[in-house]
Symmetry: C2
Subunit: 221 residues, 2 copies
């Protein structure tokens, strides 16, 4: 989905697994383990060991043969690769159920994504707060984005409003968008978009569920 950026490339597939490794390493830190083998890390992340070693090798040699990887060192390194060494102020647009859930979702602030602003088009919602953050009107996006130095926008509006909100975000200066609305949005070159459609995953499950009557044995991930 994304062109390879400056410098020589880390495969997209590898990038998409880094967050999994990061989470696993955080668990290992909590358990106060200081080293980890590719095999163990693979098991925790739900992939296989060869993949872990290959993935990590793109960043250089961080392991010790015969021992494994230093948990703390690797954690720091992946965090740096992911750009998670500083906070990212974000704005969420659309304060319906999903928007509220996202605003409340601990997993964001945990990992450096600070909900700096919330916007909605409904005047009744404007002025109320979620998790201590006031809901502003979507017309104030411009001001909020520049004042709070926001680069990342999250769209949690209904599908029909998504493109308009995306346009406003881009105009305001947002350069990365995470889109939860079940529609494709188009943006100018240079703007990054990723999409999550909650129902898509269920449909994929349904596909495999439907066609396994015939004694198929499938493996969970």
């Amino acid at each position: 989905m994304v062109g390879s950026p400056s410098g020589q490339s880390i495969p997209e597939a590898t990038v998409s697994r880094l967050p999994l490794y990061l989470r696993s390493l955080q668990e290992l830190m909590d358990e106060e383990l200081s080293t980890v083998s590719s095999e163990r890390l693979a098991e925790m992340a739900g992939v296989n060991a060869a993949k872990v070693r290959k993935d990590l090798s793109y960043f250089g040699s961080y392991g010790t043969r015969g021992v494994g990887y230093d948990v703390e060192y690797l954690l720091l390194h992946i965090r740096r690769e992911l750009g998670l060494t500083h906070d990212w102020p974000c704005v969420i647009a659309g304060m319906g159920n999903l928007g509220q859930a996202l605003a409340n979702y601990g997993g964001f602030s945990d990992r450096g994504f600070v909900i700096a602003a919330l916007v909605d088009a409904n005047p009744d919602k404007v002025g109320t707060t979620v998790e201590g953050v006031p809901i502003s009107h979507v017309d104030d996006l411009d001001d909020l984005v520049s004042r709070l130095d926001i680069h990342i926008g999250v769209i949690a509006t209904p599908a029909h409003a998504a493109q308009d909100v995306a346009d406003r975000m881009v105009a305001a200066g947002v350069t990365s968008i995470l889109n939860f609305a079940p529609t494709v949005i188009t943006v100018p070159d240079g703007i990054l978009v990723r999409k999550v459609d909650l129902a898509v995953e269920l449909q994929i499950l349904s596909f495999y569920q439907e066609r396994r009557q015939a004694g198929a044995s499938l493996t969970g991930a």
Copy 2:
């Protein structure tokens, strides 16, 4: 992530795009268009035309050369492939913000995923209703699953509770699980699991956002 099921295989990558096509076709139906070219469909789904044609070709020849695809026919066909010709009763475990958002999320029932039951471990929540569906205690999973003929479970609990809930679901007879908890769960062979981690996508955005200062020109999706 999932072994190829009975019959000759449709590539995983293709399966994961079917929901996109389905959504686009539904929009075309709403606009009362009766045919669509691979190019137009590609644009709507956010992929390229060759991919659309290749994907659809796995199901046989459904297009008309010189014209395109019949919207209604293709829609029906993909819906059948995805197993969406009948309703799937689902249970959601974990009625925090995310669980509530999912229960409210129109995108599910729209597409045949009926929220048949909700469970939580917190006795204070048990007995209240969300969208007209009562919240039951997680101990009643067994009864609910068999009585309501539920095959699909959605986990929206905190990470630490996810494995336990998954075990209970499997014991109760659930065969497909969609896991929103930020942790890997393990299940017996024959149980399908898909995972959605809301924060993972943000971290991937962060990766690319971080490394584009150097005049890189990236393309949004």
